[in-house]
Subunit: 271 residues, 2 copies
């Protein structure tokens, strides 16, 4: 099971080619949509159980970082992977373009403010990685500054890991033609117009530059303490399956358990 | 349908007796646990649809305030009412005993920081109402200060309502004996020990004082803009049903809809 992830785990030695990963891959599919759907449902329920233990234990933290081009399915992943968990323990923070106050601080300031607390599973819909994507593509920062940021990000994530957070980073990887279809759908279906922004077309024009910026960022920030996984995401159901399975695998490895019974409570009677 | 809520809606004229409401009531039950469970499941799905529209509309906000004595079921309500919604749009904030920084501000400061943003449905697990319960029971504040706080709370909530927030306030009402059983369960079942705190027994000893503090707070802060409902909660399934139904009724009245199609997008082709 576990080695199925290997081709999609970004190596920590910097030797990584994003284009070597086919966004059409479906390694975690069992070949039937019904079976896959059933598996996803079962995993969503298992995640609920694991998240309950994380909450009960109240000691460790989990951070799931979701990155990907427009329409890559960040929202959909959250909706379906967490379709069975309670909002009590699963939180989502969606990063937008930074505002004036945010820009007056270092770029990790707003991220640090929303890291998960003890017992929480936090999902970041976009993240600090936007600050090594947009500025790189737009050439607002030079190569040296990008390198500095990769290191700062690695240091920041090491702090989180060393203070009890498990960090899971997923890049939802879609193809350029798949994005074209999904954007077109948002234009053609009136009920989806609200999801579309003309800015998305400007970003799309820079597809190659973004793919390259992603490749560099992932190559430099996939570490032993916080590795990146690339999730082939042209197939939405597969994308959900793979993220759910990665999350379950990671949570299981944490060996979560309910806090031990308190022997001092034995025999206590409530009046 | 709607008048079934009436006996549980706290009047705005201050004439309210909490003990007049029986925590064993089950007005929203259809008499069969299976049917009730099916209805709850259907409502959880309907809530998901409504919350989606709230999110898509991206303009208005919803705040659900949950208050109640220990073991009254605030966590359980959140778990089951929102069992089908995505964490994308539903957030939970659990208020704990205030820390040093929080105490160095006015008591509404930390609340204002976590009000829902446009398109969000926020659930407060406990709230600013703790500041007119504990201090009143412990006599840290006198009658005049309590009255001042009721007014401040009404003013604060009016601001929220006037700036686009729908405020729904529910007190989960359990009986003293029901609480005894639930606390005993937390003591007797080792897996539930972690939910139990000895402090809960101290609070339980002041049951009558808390009931009185609740009665006064609800009587003074049930307003036309932000009314209180008392939810009979000895029966957990009924409690969930009633909160879900109240939420659905309120969201439906907001007449939510997907943003209109953008005519300027017609014929646009993605390259």
């Amino acid at each position: 099971m576990s080695n199925k992830f290997k081709p999609y785990r970004v190596p920590t030695d910097g030797d990584f080619r994003l284009r070597a990963i086919d966004p059409n891959d479906i390694p975690f599919s069992e070949g039937s949509e019904d079976v896959d759907q059933g598996n996803l449902e079962a995993m969503a329920k298992e995640l609920d159980k694991l998240q309950n233990k994380l909450h009960a234990e109240g000691r460790r933290k989990v951070l799931l970082v979701l990155q990907g081009m427009d329409t890559s399915g960040k929202d959909g992943t959250i909706r379906w992977v967490f379709s069975r968990t309670s909002p009590l323990g699963v939180r989502v923070y969606a990063f937008k373009a930074p505002g004036e106050i945010e820009l007056s601080h270092d770029y990790l300031w707003r991220c640090h403010a929303v890291v998960p607390a003890a017992g929480q599973l936090m999902v970041w819909n976009r993240s600090h990685y936007e600050d090594v994507l947009v500025p790189v593509v737009e050439k607002w920062i030079d190569r040296a500054e990008a390198q500095r940021r990769y290191r700062q990000i690695n240091d920041f994530e090491r702090l989180l890991v060393e203070t009890g957070t498990t960090v899971i980073k997923c890049m939802l990887h879609i193809g350029q033609d798949e994005q074209r279809q999904r954007l077109q759908e948002r234009i053609d279906e009136p009920d989806k117009n609200w999801k579309f922004s003309r800015g998305d077309l400007e970003v799309r024009k820079k597809w190659s530059a973004y793919q390259q910026a992603y490749e560099r960022a992932l190559a430099h920030t996939s570490t032993e303490h916080a590795p990146w996984h690339v999730i082939p995401s042209n197939n939405k159901l597969h994308r959900n399956l793979m993220v759910a399975r990665l999350l379950i695998k990671t949570l299981k490895r944490m060996d979560l358990s309910f806090p031990p019974a308190d022997p001092a409570l034995k025999g206590l009677v409530v009046e």
